[in-house]
């Protein structure tokens, strides 16, 4: 299916719960409402004309506005279909005060480690995750969520001088 066809089909079936982003990319980019996320993912795999059976990746992202006050999180999934060869980017907005999200490990098994990674690097919570545990960081890690913007850093860390500005 082409980008337009996928978007049309999704609007038809999940109209009020999705928000399509206008981009210049060949794949559709869209947001789905947090409450409908797991149901929507299930629909994406089960609908024969979409058949998104391959979860390419899942990751978090942290956005802070210029004032440094308002923050929000996104969970981003890149999906592909081995049957129809189309691709898609699916996102979920999470407010900073409630970072809980349903798990998709029951739909794509590969989501297991990706969710654990988002959990420890961004602090996104997956309460239904079947085996929550530490993945990449130390067992006794107690220094916050390192991938968040403005992370204060590990106490033993000596930062490198920032040379990228001089490259301009």
């Amino acid at each position: 299916m082409t980008k337009d066809e996928i978007e049309k089909q999704l609007v038809k079936d999940f109209g009020e719960h999705i928000e399509i982003q206008t981009t210049d990319q060949p794949e559709p980019f869209l947001y789905v409402a947090k409450e409908k996320y797991v149901e929507f993912c299930k629909y994406l795999t089960e609908n024969p004309s979409l058949a998104f059976d391959f979860l390419f990746q899942l990751g978090g992202a942290h956005f802070v506005d210029a004032s440094g006050q308002g923050e929000k999180f996104d969970v981003i999934l890149c999906l592909a279909s081995s049957k129809h060869k189309h691709e898609m980017v699916l996102k979920v907005k999470l407010p900073a005060e409630n970072l809980a999200l349903g798990t998709v490990t029951g739909i794509w098994r590969v989501a297991d480690f990706y969710e654990l990674e988002a959990m420890e690097l961004y602090g996104i919570k997956f309460p239904d995750h079947p085996h929550p545990r530490r993945l990449l960081l130390d067992d006794d890690w107690d220094y916050g969520y390192p991938m968040r913007k403005g992370w204060s850093g590990h106490p033993d860390f000596i930062p490198m001088p920032d040379k990228s500005e001089s490259a301009e």
């Binding site: 390419f56 990746q57 890149c78 590969v110 297991d112 990449l136 960081l137």
Partner: protein
């Protein structure tokens, strides 16, 4: 990770074995916690993260061009494809047209690196299974590929060869004849490896029908590349979503039939022959022209992009969020081994511990790629 979690499920006649993190058969620093019943694996938990270098965080503090050397370190057995994935993503984001000569040079380097990477896999896997000779043979041929890379960009492991919009430099004139000479020589060497291993009765009994991976399970676990093609799933990004002129080359994506360890072996062996074909075609058809597009020195793309390529171990890709500054806002790196390490539990349970090394070897996992 403590072993406590896995101990909870332990029955009376079962015991826990800890493998790694420093263990020759884990090809790096991977720790596996096994719950065993006699010689049979009943449960397996991979403990990763020993090589975590926060490359994604580093990316947020470097410009697009400055991040290039870090991509080399994501998978140091196959740096060129990591370079290629990054430049493909950035070029897709910033809509940069790459000169054809640069695209061909990228293909030559990537395919040579694919051979080198498969040679490491061949050497270590056969070593794990007790065959020492193929290891020495494989590293002898890999040395010649590294010489070719050294001739081109001065590096033998982390090449930093590609640039946004092209490649860093033109290979010297003697590179092309040496390259052809190598592919001719190498095809015969693949026959040698096959003579040593493919139908060797000991090798067959260790690999045939061991740890079968069905296609649907493989897809669900995010398997890709040779691991999934060994199950018979015809999926090669070089053919399905061609990038960097791959549509101009005539090659096959070898397929397995069953998806056992032996299929994963034979698919990679055949893939090495196909790589030689691609390299030959690219060297012969190398167009004249510039090797780098004109890219502004201060480079401020905006938007979001997701690009993926076929790396030696499977699909590799980047998701970039660009906010219109010189540095990316967020970079998510997708590597094949991160998905494959999860597959290990599905494949190894109910096999003997001796089969674990064969199964692990056949997946071709490298740990820097898992931990990033």
């Amino acid at each position: 990770m403590s072993t406590l979690e896995i101990e909870k499920t332990q029955a009376q006649d079962e015991f826990i074995i800890n493998v790694g993190p420093q263990h020759p058969s884990t090809h790096g620093v991977l720790r596996l916690i096994l719950r065993m019943k006699g010689e049979f694996i009943k449960d397996l938990k991979p403990d990763v993260g020993f090589l975590h270098r926060a490359i994604e965080k580093i990316a947020e503090n470097r410009t697009y061009a400055q991040f290039m050397p870090f991509t080399d370190r994501i998978d140091y057995c196959a740096s060129m494809p990591c370079n290629l994935a990054w430049v493909t993503a950035v070029e897709k984001l910033a809509k940069i047209e790459v000169p054809e000569r640069a695209q061909y040079l990228r293909v030559i380097m990537t395919e040579l690196n694919r051979i080198a990477s498969h040679l490491i896999w061949l050497g270590t896997m056969s070593l794990d299974l007790g065959a020492f000779t193929p290891f020495l043979y494989a590293f002898r041929e890999r040395e010649r590929i590294l010489d070719l890379f050294e001739m081109t960009c001065g590096q033998r492991l982390t090449y930093n060869y590609m640039r946004i919009g092209g490649v860093s430099q033109e290979p010297p004139q003697e590179f092309y004849p040496k390259c052809k000479e190598f592919t001719q020589y190498f095809r015969k060497k693949v026959d040698d490896y096959e003579a040593l291993l493919t139908y060797n009765p000991i090798f067959l009994s260790r690999t045939k029908d061991v740890a079968i991976l069905p296609i649907d399970v493989g897809l669900n676990y995010g398997a890709s590349g040779p691991t999934l093609r060994a199950s018979g799933h015809d999926w090669d990004l070089r053919k399905i979503h061609p990038y960097s002129s791959y549509d101009k080359f005539d090659f096959k994506a070898p397929l397995g039939t069953k998806g056992d360890v032996w299929d994963r072996y034979i698919v990679r062996i055949q893939e090495m022959r196909q790589c030689c074909n691609i390299v030959d075609q690219a060297v012969e058809g190398l167009p004249e022209g510039p090797i780098k597009a004109k890219v502004p020195a201060v480079f401020k793309p905006k938007g979001e992009v997701f690009a993926r390529i076929e790396a030696p171990r499977g699909e590799m890709g980047y998701y970039i969020i660009a906010d219109g500054t010189t540095k990316p806002y967020r970079v998510k790196i997708r590597t094949a081994s991160f998905a494959h390490v999860q597959l290990l539990k599905y494949l190894a349970v109910d096999w003997k511990i001796a089969d674990l090394v064969a199964i692990f070897g056949s997946l071709d996992i490298v740990l820097p790629e898992v931990d990033r």
